[in-house]
């Protein structure tokens, strides 16, 4: 790792730590509490899903770009202590270069075609 990339790495770690301390940590245990389950049996530890069917609409997340992602996340978190974290998270993501760890492909792989 070069000095420059090492410095960038350090800055990114600092940014995550700051995000954690300022945005996540204050949420505390309250944020983790599972949503209360109406009608759950005292003898059962299952969370009911009520016979729900997977919805086609729910499959379209709206995750095509940063703005959409922030909006989608905050819509999901509306009315919860996490509301607003979507925008903050995507702001934080700007500091991170998009990385696709590419796998090496042997030329053998394409012999089959």
């Amino acid at each position: 790792m070069t000095d420059r990339s090492s410095r960038e790495e350090t800055r990114r770690r600092a940014a995550i730590e700051s995000f954690f301390r300022t945005r996540v940590l204050p949420l505390g245990r309250e944020a983790a509490a599972p949503v209360p389950v109406p009608g759950a049996s005292p003898d059962s530890l299952y969370h009911p899903r009520g016979g729900e069917r997977p919805s086609p609409d729910a499959m379209e997340l709206g995750f095509g770009n940063r703005r959409e992602m922030a909006r989608t996340l905050d819509r999901h978190w509306r009315g919860t202590p996490l509301h607003g974290l979507g925008r903050a998270l995507l702001r934080l993501a700007r500091r991170f270069p998009r990385r696709v760890e590419r796998s090496e492909v042997s030329s053998d792989v394409y012999e089959m075609f």
Partner: protein
Amino acid sequence: MTGPLYVLGVSAFYHDSAAALLRDGEIVAAAQEERFTRRKHDPRFPANAINACLETAQIEAEELSAAVFYESPVLSLDRILRTAAAGGEAALPSVLDGLPAWLSTKLFFDELVRTELGCEVPVLFSEHHVSHAASAFYPSPYDDAAILTIDGVGEWATTTLAEGDAEGLRLHQEIRFPHSLGLLYSAFTQYCGFKVNSGEYKLMGLAPFGEPRYAARIRDHLIDLREDGSYALDMDYFPYELGQTMTSPRFHELFEGPPRERESRIRRKDADLAASVQAVTEEAVFRMARHLRRTTGRSSLVMAGGVALNCVANGKLLREGIFDELWVQPAAGDAGGALGAAYVGAHVYFDAPRVAAAPGRDRQRGSYLGPAWSNEEVRSFLDLQDLPYSTASDDERAREVARALAEGQVVGYMVGPAEFGPRALGARSILGDPRNAETQSVMNLKIKFRESFRPFAPSVLREACSELFDLDVESPYMMLVAPVREELRLPGAADASDEGEDLIAIVNEPRSSVPAVTHVDYSARIQTVDGVEKPDFHAVIREFQTLTGIGCVVNTSFNVRGEPMVLSPRDAYQCFMRTDMDLLVMENFLLRKVDQPKFEDREDWQEEYELD
């Protein structure tokens, strides 16, 4: 829409990334990235697997109706951030460790797919356990079924109870993180010195060497298991929420010692722990199954998720008779999530009708869904490398392989499309003689270079199965364990639990007339082979039966320890030359070890593969 409906499913970024392609709701191809990259459990974006699927279908990416990711990043982030908030300051290391991958890659799957495919394909997302449920139900032979998915963790769900019928899937109940039967099993896997996410299979194989002496302790302290199969773990024993380790000092205190060092000698205690967590897992699965039967009224059960790879539990579940029928997705782990995601895309999003199954058959096509090499391609490879070989017709090949096996030789067998899922099913297999008591230790130590206690599986003619094993249903995917028939067992074989610390002595003791595939508890992990999905392999076993009277062979995956199963002729030849195999079959080409030129290799080649 005028053309066929092509839906691509993708799993990635955790372990076992994979791609699967459906055409009008029917599987065209499915492949795991590790087979191409030669990196076991490769979690990277499955560019090779996607290409393989598109090439098999002979379509361009532009022809895809959608690409479906196998889980929801929204729900995963929800769990990760809420868990971190609750963890307080102690969560910082796991946040520093885990969040960069999200911020640089995982959040951007949508964009990544479009960039990699070079087109504006619609990108959809399915819930992790819905993907598993779909992978279990849609390719199964049943019109309707109860569905049980159990794994480490998806987004929040770790266990899901559902059902499927002509109207689609319905989700009924779930258990949520951090409570996880899969992670309970993984915690013991790590404590017993095996690697999480791959060593669970070893723990299951170790269990019959032990006694469930600790099962009561697990029930009393670690898991609150209710009558309906629902459960909660006591998280004081499991610090994995914060990502650093699976078991806490309190766990170590409860089981009287620190975790076993990896690769150190396996102790009686490890075997007893394995037996104990296996017993508790089975109990939990049985209770869930009974609850599902009661609440859904369905007579068939389908399963997926990593825990569904526990073929010992599956076999017992079948014998318990809670459901009339059981079908388990052969790629039950995350790789199969790609297939499930594609099904969710086809049936939930596009409302495609479910393809009818042939009577008595499933829709998984034997799980021979991966890439294949033609004879021309194999010949090109061999000629280019100037390697000596002979050719054989299909019938001659079957006879030649059977003869070699009957003479005690070990055969590398690469014929047809590769398997999708972790089990070798006769397309990328190493075969041996089940009658030979030494086959197990020789194949483990000289060919697979792995722990000698690990059992091998029999591939048995469907029509001969009940002559050898107490199993009267098909098990084409090696997902069921059943006992060797009583009359084939050898008298006087010692009870494994009485043999003190020496597991090797127990392994080497013959226990039946097919000792190489008989585990210490007289069980066997069975693949039934029929002439419909895999006629070439069926012919080999049938010829072996003609020669020996035994309609089964030893079948283990074509690889060495830590290596993904071979895929290409080059992989197969390399593995053949690095090990003590005698004969290599690649399509209609036969290569004998004695004829091969000296193989130039690095002395430290085994270090290429991280031990699993």
